[in-house]
Structures are given as structure tokens and as C-alpha cells.
Amino acid sequence: MPRTETARRLTGLLRDGAARFSHPLLPDDYLHLLNPLWSARELRGRIVEVRKETDTAATLVIKPGWGWNGDYTAGQYVGIGHQVGGRWHWRSYSLTSTPVRDDGLIAITVKAMPEGFLSGHLVNGLAPGTIVRLAAPQGNFVLPDPPPARVLFLTAGSGITPVMSMLRTLDARCAADGSGLPDIVLVHSAPTERDVLFRQELHRLADRHAGLHLHEQLTDAMGMLNLAELQTVCPDWTERQTWACGPPAMLDAAEALWKARGITEALHLERFSVDLTGAGGEGGTVTFARSGKTAVVDGATTLLLAGEAAGVVMPFGCRMGICQSCVLPLKAGATRDLRSGIEHVAGERVQTCISAAAGDCVLDV
């Protein structure tokens, strides 16, 4: 991977030159057939290790291919695409690795959800050597640099994953410059000890760093954490910057509590992606991302008509589902193919002339 500006520029020149020989394709289109990681056109990664974390969760260690620039911040998430039944399916997961450790590998930790289609495949179905697709890291759920003096992490279940990346990063920095951790309280909920992700490592970190205080709320035995009594596990929570990640109910409660105290700016939330199946009835608000226009539509109006009615310049062709001229990327939400009833979700490209909104959705046009 090019590190310096000169090397980057030289690589660019080389790529442009090679592309003249491979026109209209890119050299990557040929090279990835030799080694799947040799492509910067689509980010790819090779699974190098699948580590079982709990009965239902596993960490996937991934070696990213060309085009991965290595920049991410602890707490960010990454898109991962996996081919099942010939189709690429995409989900986002928090990175659990630390960007500080410079071994060129990244890791995500996936918990198999009972209803989750892809999570089950990722936890149980991926052998080392499998090639996955990657989307560049993003997300605002990150610590400032330097971190605040007093921090509260409020997590539940797999909500620990972005926080684990933060803790590993802080730990690695301490090891590098001999400093200590800030004053951190981690309040984490899980049904039993067996369900606590990274339990041994968390305890090791707490033993090593005087600044890290760990409270495990094992809900099978202790019941759910009542946020109204948060002061019992973290007396000075109102004076801390808080990062919270977990199920929607917990985050909603936290949001209400912090708001009631008038300290919303001290609370940083990470919500997992919206519940697509819970989108309820058909129809919804269609947002056209580039123009910022929106349209409220029923479940029978095509996205193409909705866009045109809203004054968006929509690409179109046959308007009967055969020519693909109208295909647009779906950035968020879900749509339904009016012919087959098949639902398409964010990350897919949809034919707008035969698709309708299935809940709120965002089109990249």
C-alpha cells in the first residue's frame, strides 16, 4: 500500500497507463481474477480467521485488498458484502479491531440474530479464505482525540463492539507512549457471563488499567439495568461524556434520561440499522438524495412516477421493467418490486419504473 504522496502519485500514473491497455475495463477487472484482493474497483477482503467469541458470536479477521486505505477511527462501522445464493447481501458492522495496531488486518464481531439472514451466514458459514466485499468505514460514533478525562460507556449485547475497538485503541496508545487510560466506566448488559463478548479481555484490561471500571449487568440473574438508578453503578454519570450502543429500547431510554437532565450534548448514540421488516405497511416517504426532494407515496405508486411528480430528473426508458435505463442505487430503506413482490434493501440497485416504496427510502438521484 502506498504510504507517501509520491508513491501514491506513481501508483496512480501506473494505473492510468495500464487502464489504456485494458479499456474499457480497468486493470483491476483482470487482476482480481488472479488474486481476488488485487482490485481497488470493488473493495474486497479475505477472511483470514474466524474466532468464536460466544455461542452465537464470532469475530471475523479480514485482510483487506487493494484500495483499502487503512484509515478508520475506533467506533466506526464497515459495510460487508457476502454472496449467498448468487446474490450479494450487505450489512454493516462495527469494527472491533484497532487502527493503531499496524498489521493491515481489520476485524468485525458478528452476533447471529435469530431472525437475521446474513448474520447467521457470517457467524457459521464463513471459512477462512472466503472473499467478502467491503465498503469504506464510516460513522460518527467515535472518541475525540484526545479523549475526555471522564467517560461512561453504556452498552448491551453486541453494542459492546464499537466500544471494544475504542478500548483496544486507547490501550494500544498507552502501551506506545506509557500514558494511562482516562477515567472510564463501562456498564455492559448481557444475559449471562457466557454471553458477554470479549469478557476475558475486558477483565484483563480492567486489571491492567486503574482507570477502567467494569460493571457487568448479567440480566438473567440481576434483571435489566434500570437507567433511573444509573447512579448506583456510576454515581457521577452526569459529569461524564457518554457513548451508548445497544438495543433501541435502551437507547431511547438513555436519550430521554439525558434530555430530562438537560445534558443531551454529553450523550453519543450508535443505533444499529433500522428494522427493515418492521417498516410496517407499504408506501412511505421517498427522499431523492442529490436534489433533497421528497415525496410521500402509497405502496402502488412507482418510484419513477413519484420522482417525476416531485420534479426530480429521473432516468427512464421503457417504463415497463425491461430496459434497465431507470435503475438507481437505493441508499436507505426498502422498496418492493411490484411485479414479483420481492423486497430490495439499501445497497441494491432498483428499477424505479416497477418498484414502489416499502416504508421510507432514499434514492441516490
Binding site: L33, G317, C318, S325, G347
Partner: protein
């Protein structure tokens, strides 16, 4: 005049046609639901084979001063260009593989090794040709604006030059297709702005420049002393691809039995009648696995026109079902040996270079075009 009443021509009641449409809809859903890993593996394998062949060909041409190497390199490159345009490019741009949700094999991102840009091809082919298939005056692929391929078009003196024009078109087919979409006549008639045409011409020019530089300058230069050998090999491969793709495409709608239609037919058309028009307007040719593959599965032109966006590797099994449906509804299913089908298109092209006064049949009862009046004419002839 071409077919104005498709039901009368096919001797079907409206209820028959609707039932036919339902059967084809069901067949479509069945194939859609069964698309999976095997199909995805197929297209990946084809892409791998094609790119491998291309680079093996280009590598062999480093030795193109040695004649057998020239022949081998040219053959591999020709095969690769044919596969790239037909089984891969044409079909990917149709959206046949969009269901995989793979941005690298997707109609909205694909670009092919052809003078026409994917964007303009999507318009001239996917939209114009596939929507208005064989409608005289609407589908510009009926003769490509330069050939009189049905006597529904009035004879003009320039048609006398048709044999020469056709030979040139076949040799330079990719350029013919690229210019075809610019549609200069539409600009003249005011149906298209000059700005649009200029923008398209510029995009086409940029692409052609890159294509020509690649095949006739960069790769030859890379092969050093074999420069001229590589130029002639690349030229030959491009011409072989042009001639072959032209032959396959001409066999799709110009053999006898591939009917033409009037705008009146289109204007009152139901979705089921659209299917029927695609079936009556297209022609297949028989082929084993190799011929089918090299034709990009377009020997299943009928199936392709009913379901232009279903994966090409499934057309063979769809064909068995469509043929059975045609038999049941007593709809003609036009097919034959490749050489016979191609000979018919050449014959029509040659014959129609002559004025109608020298031809016997009319556009109601000719080999290449007929109408619902054909039955009446036959009965009258029998009675006489």
C-alpha cells in the same frame, strides 16, 4: 402492410392471448425464483474464460512474426471479442445479471469492447428495439435505417446499392451500431436536439479513440518488432467479431416468418399482446452448445425477446417451455438451421434492393412480411 391486428393474424381470441400472457408471466416468475449460485458461477466462469482468452491471445501475438502464432493469437482474440460482446456485454447491459447485486456485473456500470457506448446502446437497443420490436417506422433496427429489409418500406433508388452497403455494414458493424443511436434523421426532423446529438457524438468519439489506440497503437507497440503483425491480428479479430455478430443479429428478425407490425398494432397493445408480438417478430436458429454460446444465446431470440432480462444461460430450458406453449396455442415458432436462416436474410436483402414492380408478393403476403390479410388472400387464391 404489416400486421395491424395481431389476434386476427394468430387466430387467437382476446381470452386466449390473456391466458398465454399469464403462462409466460408464471414462467418468468419460476425462472426468477430459481436464479442462484449456479447461475452466478456461470457468468463468473464465462468472464474468467473470456478475459483469459483475451490475454492469452494478446500474449501469443508477441510472437506474431511467426505465422502460426499470428493465427493462434488472432483466433483467441477473435473468440474473446465475440464472447465479450455477445454472451457477456449484450446480456449484462440488458440487466440479466442485475439480480446478483454485484456492481461489477451490472447493467448500470457495464462498459463493453465495442464502439457504441453502453449508455447509447441501452437506448437504441434496450429501449427502442426491445419496446417497439419490428414496428415499422418505430423500431430502427428494421433495416438499421440503411437497408430495405421489408417491403413495408417504399423502394428508393438508393436501395439498389444495398448489397454493397450490407457488406460494409457487416464488416464495420460496431461502428454502424454506434452511429445508429445518434439518429441523424431525428435531428433533421426536430425530434432530437443538436446538443444531445453532439454530446453523444463526442462520447462516442472519445470511446472510439480509446478503443483504436488500444488495439492499433498500444498493444502493437508493446509487442515491439511484431508491431504490424499485432495490428493486422487485432484488425482481423475486430472484423471477425463484427461479421459474426452481424450474422447472428440479422438472423434474429429478418428470416422468413419474423413478422413486422404497424404502429396501429402497438397503440392498442396489452402486455399479453406485447409477448405475442415478440414471439411472432423474432426468429431462432438451432444450435448445439458451442454455437449457442458463441451466439451469446441469441439463437434463442424468441425467448430473449419475451424475457430480455432473464439470464442467458437459462434460455435453453425456457425455449423448451415456450415451444410447448406455441404448439398448444398454434402460434408459429420460427427456427431453422443457422445457414438457412442467414441465407434467407441475405436473399431478402438482395431481393428488396429491387423495386416492388419487379417483385411478385405484396407486404400482406411476402416471405419476410405479412399481415392478417394473408389468410383472406390465401382463401381467395384457393377459391380461384
Amino acid at each position: 402492410m404489416a400486421i395491424s391486428d395481431i389476434k386476427a393474424y394468430a387466430h387467437l381470441t382476446p381470452a386466449d392471448v390473456e391466458a398465454l400472457g399469464k403462462e409466460l408471466d408464471a414462467l418468468r416468475r419460476e425462472i426468477e425464483e430459481s436464479r442462484g449460485e449456479k447461475d452466478a458461477a456461470y457468468i463468473r466462469k464465462v468472464i474468467k474464460l473470456q478475459r483469459g482468452l483475451e490475454y492469452a491471445g494478446r500474449a501469443t501475438l508477441f510472437a506474431s512474426l511467426f505465422p502460426p502464432a499470428w493465427v493462434a493469437g488472432t483466433a483467441m482474440l477473435s473468440l474473446s471479442k465475440i464472447i465479450e460482446n455477445m454472451e457477456i456485454g449484450h446480456n449484462v447491459i440488458h440487466g440479466q445479471w442485475d439480480w446478483m447485486n454485484d456492481p461489477e456485473i451490472h447493467s448500470s456500470t457495464w462498459e463493453w469492447d465495442n464502439a457504441a457506448t453502453a449508455e447509447s446502446w441501452k437506448h437504441s437497443h434496450n429501449v427502442v428495439h426491445h419496446t417497439w420490436t419490428n414496428i415499422v417506422g418505430k423500431d430502427r433496427d428494421v433495416g438499421y435505417g440503411v437497408l430495405r429489409i421489408t417491403r413495408d418500406y417504399k423502394w428508393k433508388p438508393k436501395n439498389l446499392g444495398q448489397p454493397v452497403i450490407y457488406a460494409l455494414l457487416a464488416l464495420m458493424f460496431e461502428y454502424g451500431i454506434a452511429f445508429h443511436d445518434i439518429d441523424v434523421s431525428a435531428v433533421k426532423k426536430g425530434r432530437k436536439t443538436k446538443e444531445t446529438a453532439t454530446r453523444q457524438l463526442k462520447a462516442m468519439g472519445r470511446k472510439i479513440r480509446k478503443q483504436v489506440t488500444k488495439d492499433y497503437l498500444l498493444w502493437p507497440a508493446l509487442t515491439g518488432p511484431a508491431f504490424l503483425g499485432t495490428v493486422s491480428a487485432n484488425f482481423t479479430a475486430n472484423v471477425v467479431r463484427n461479421v459474426w455478430s452481424n450474422a447472428v443479429i440479422f438472423c434474429g428478425h429478418f428470416p422468413d416468418g419474423a413478422e413486422k407490425f404497424t404502429l396501429a398494432e402497438y397503440e392498442s397493445e396489452t402486455p399479453a399482446e406485447w409477448y405475442l408480438r415478440q414471439m411472432l417478430g423474432s426468429a431462432n436458429f438451432n444450435g448445439g452448445k458451442l454455437l449457442t454460446f458463441m451466439a451469446g444465446n441469441l439463437n434463442h431470440q424468441i425467448e430473449h425477446h419475451i424475457f430480455p432480462d432473464l439470464p442467458s444461460n437459462r434460455y435453453a430450458e425456457i425455449a423448451v417451455r415456450v415451444r410447448e406453449i406455441c404448439d398448444r396455442y398454434e402460434i408459429p415458432y420460427t427456427t431453422g438451421h443457422f445457414l438457412v436462416q442467414y441465407a434467407q436474410t441475405i436473399r431478402t436483402m438482395l431481393k428488396l434492393s429491387l423495386p416492388d414492380s419487379m417483385l411478385t408478393a405484396t407486404s400482406d403476403d411476402a416471405p419476410e412480411t405479412a399481415s392478417e390479410k394473408k389468410w383472406e388472400l390465401r382463401e381467395r387464391a384457393l377459391a380461384a
